[in-house]
Symmetry: C2
Subunit: 202 residues, 2 copies
DNA sequence: CTATAAAGTGAGTAATCACTCACTTACTTC
DNA sequence: GAAGTAAGTGAGTGATTACTCACTTTATAG
């Protein structure tokens, strides 16, 4: 991969643009990333970007596609290797946090895109991603109930909200402290507490 | 209060500006709110705003002060009336959600400000708010342990993160659906699950 | 080696934004 | 009711931004 050379083929240039935007989002507010800053980081003229994307919104859409594809693949793979529904949830949780720790700009992008006023393609993509994520959570939680691992009185919808909230809360902590360490350090304890609420009292 | 009349005294005009910004934040991405839009909503010329605030950042700082003051007062009042630490947490939780349901732009503002690149006064104010909030949570959780209401093996720091995450998760749901109803509907179930994880198994 | 197409350049443009200022209007006080 | 002051107006300004385009450079196929 000679991604730094000039005159890349179009598909490689598009991929490099997406990766650059994700890298920049780790350093600054995603909504403040300019096409000029993207081009500068790529050692490219600003105008060249628009040979590969019709608008900036299309660039963001490509970024969100990249994220949705990678994140869902990561959590699916993590869930498959586990022995029980609760273990799958924990593996998904850890894989998700590992993913955002490696790409700290991504949760910022998702949240920022969600609260855009306009209904952009990128925003719809985020909604789809989160909906698909929630479906996987519901399935696993129901399986946990069926197998008696999760208490029957647990509200599955509430549990899915709490799961998403766990991740969001940890991200919030990292935004306050300015680095990613609290995520890795606090994650296990938070999940233990979450699982305590779910588990059937034997 | 004749807040719509022309030629308001300076302090009332500043207060009206803050309230207008909070109202606008409920409708659109806070970072996309322009001074022109604020002025238009107030039936005021854009230039007039800068007679009362030296910069736009100062406007945001005033907004954050408004939020910090009101939110902390609300949750403190709610916590006082409750019979036990866990009941206080629940009352705080509900008061907080009631607050954000009435001012849907506020969580957006806080999160958006947190991820700004520059270290603005508003950002420092958000950090302070969240730190003070976390202190209250730690105190209550420790009291719960001392009284035997909360299991001794519970990680207090994790519980505080989970509490913040609960709120953040519910806000996320409302951003996806586009309205505030899921917050009010799902909140009790989510808290029950949270409390299940904390409570001492008798 | 040459022709052709793909990719990149850099100097534009129009729109938008926060912020300024000379001037006008409205309140207050004696 | 005149004088003084506080508040508002509206037409600026310069900086920034997404996007365009005529032209140049590079890669590649015959």
């Amino acid at each position: 991969m000679k991604l730094d050379s000039k005159h890349l083929p179009a598909d490689q240039r598009r991929a490099a643009t997406v990766e650059t935007m994700i890298a920049l989002a780790a350093e600054q507010n995603p909504s403040e990333i300019t096409t000029g800053a993207i081009a500068e980081r790529m050692n490219l003229s600003q105008g060249a970007l628009f040979r590969h994307f019709p608008t900036k919104d299309d660039m963001w859409q490509s970024v969100m596609e990249w994220v949705a594809q990678r994140l869902l693949a990561r959590i699916d793979k993590a869930a498959q290797g586990a022995a029980s529904p609760l273990a799958s949830l924990e593996a998904m949780f850890m894989a998700h946090l590992d993913f955002v720790a490696k790409h700290p700009g991504i949760p910022r992008m998702l949240f920022g895109e969600l609260q855009r006023a306009k209904d952009t393609a990128a925003k719809r993509m985020v909604r789809t991603l989160l909906t698909q994520y929630a479906e996987r959570l519901h399935t696993l939680l129901q399986q946990g109930k069926d197998r008696g691992e999760i208490a029957s009185e647990v509200d599955i919808h509430a549990a899915a909200t709490l799961y998403i909230g766990m991740i969001q809360g940890l991200i919030m902590q990292s935004l306050i402290s300015g680095n990613m360490t609290p995520i890795r350090d606090s994650a296990p304890g938070v999940f233990i507490l979450f699982a305590r609420g779910l588990r059937r009292v034997s």
